[in-house]
Amino acid sequence: MRAFRLPTELWTLAALLALWEAVVVVFRVPEILVPSVRVVFDEIASNPDFYLVQSMHTLSNTLAAFVLSVVFGVGMAIAIVSSRFLEKTLYTVLVALNNVPKVALAPLFVIWLGTGNASKIAMGVMISIFAIVIDAVLGLRSLTPDMIDLGRSMRGSGLKMLLKLRLPNALPSIIAGMKVAMSLSLVGAIVGEFVAAQNGLGFVILSAQGMFRTDRVFAAILLLAAIGTTLYYLMEVLERALIPWHESQRHGTARAPAAVVPKA
């Protein structure tokens, strides 16, 4: 087991913020273009409740989209690998849909689902579900002929084959997809808020931009970065808990299966 690396990464982030501060001060960047770190933190500190509420709003939509993507994505992947017919139909449709720039669909969701949370969650699912489906299909298909023979020689039902062999074998792949889907869910929630919303960090950015409040824009961006990073590390923790047996978790050098990153 390798040591938890968070401290090093915290230092790196702190150094990045320091660099930002230094550049703004040394080159006298106008506050209207890029405010200094101190100004941004002051903005957040002056209105903590407001930013907390907006962050929670975006976070809850993101998590809802993520959970739905995982549940339906893995479900669809299982259906696709279990049926030739679904592979030819459902999977083809999904691959075709994945090539549509999904951000372009955001206004449609507003028409269909209104300006509430539903359209944001739908947007998050739309953007992130492909990462799950594609990686899960890849993982579920990667059962080796040896393992298939083993399963058949034990005369198990199709369900046993799925639960005892296919799914656990696909888990590293699925988790790789989940990592990507987590960030894409956040993208989806923000895009949804850009299109039509009365709250959320995306809404904060858009309304602050209208008033040339660059400090607010940066405050929201900083919070988004914090949320995204935290979610990513939560996924790493989840990965370590779920697949301690995988090569990527056993020694530092090997990597987890690379996720196929679908287009946003």
Binding site: D146, M147, L150, S153, R155, G156, K160, N169, W245, R250
Partner: protein, 275 residues
């Protein structure tokens, strides 16, 4: 599936009266196998017939590509026969354990959980088999390794665990496809002795594929030599050594006679020319 149905029907028709005295375990009746491949059909097995008696240890010996794996897979119902029939007596396909050339242990399971996998597959309660699994592991020198993961074990230990997995559900029929092929000579000798001892105690009908003449002679009641292009049985040799056997029987003159005879047969059928 068809094989199971056939064997069930067969058992019902011919052996319903005194099934326990059924002297036969497997009937391989004029079985042939042709694979369709991109450059035409490949006949892996011509026509193979063999009756395997209950409790018999049979080795299948032959050059690479002669169809040994194919035959074993057909017996296990993993592959359909192109011609002929295979009848399994007794529990049929439900009563067999397969040991593969590669151990195929699952990395997400501990050794104990790997051994218990067949129980879970047939819907049994793994907890009830825990003691049996631990005892099996102990017989094969794996006591204390039950909570390790496969990658923490050596090749020989992994193959031992795979054998325990094949034995956990007390199969009537043990099919082994070059289980020791990837091991060094010392480990191989060791496992040969262990397998021989275990077999002597349980008398499970065993089909054992190997490339090694000494291994075949040491373990078997009968050695079946298969030639290639297409695969067919060219010799069935009875091995008359008392059991249990120790590695010292290899020094006996009879062991040398058997080995030389098998090498002659293989040579006559071109096994060494192509290597």
């Amino acid at each position: 599936m068809a094989v199971a149905a056939l064997s069930a029907a067969n058992a019902a028709a011919a052996h319903a009266v005194v099934p326990f005295d059924d002297p036969l375990a497997i009937e391989i009746d004029a079985v042939g196998k042709t694979y369709a491949s991109s450059d035409g059909a490949v006949t892996a097995l011509g026509s193979v017939s063999l009756d395997v008696r209950r409790g018999e240890f049979i080795s299948l010996l032959g050059p690479s590509g002669c169809g040994k794996t194919t035959l074993l897979r057909m017996v296990a119902g993993l592959e359909d026969t192109t011609t002929g029939h295979i009848h399994l007596h007794g529990r049929g396909l439900d009563g067999l354990g397969f040991v593969f050339q590669r151990d195929v242990l699952l990395n997400w399971r501990t050794i104990l959980q790997n051994v218990l996998l067949p129980i879970e597959f047939r819907g049994g309660r793994p907890k009830q088999y825990r003691d049996r699994a631990l005892a099996l592991l102990a017989t094969f020198g794996l006591a204390g390794f039950e909570n390790k993961r496969p990658w923490e074990l050596s090749g020989g230990m992994r193959q031992r665990a795979a054998i325990c997995r094949a034995l956990i559900d007390d199969p009537e029929l043990l099919l082994m496809d070059e289980p020791f092929g990837a091991l060094d000579a010392l480990t191989r000798d060791e496992l040969n002795v262990e397998l021989q001892t275990l077999w002597h105690r349980s008398r499970k009908t065993t089909l054992f594929v190997t490339h090694s003449i000494p291994e075949a002679v040491f373990l078997s009641d009968r050695v079946v030599v298969i030639s290639d292009k297409p695969g067919r049985i060219v010799e069935v040799l009875d091995i008359d050594f008392p059991r249990p056997r120790g590695l010292d029987i290899r020094e006996e003159p009879a062991f040398g006679h058997y080995s030389r005879h098998l090498r002659d047969v293989l040579e006559r059928h071109g096994a060494f020319r192509k290597r």
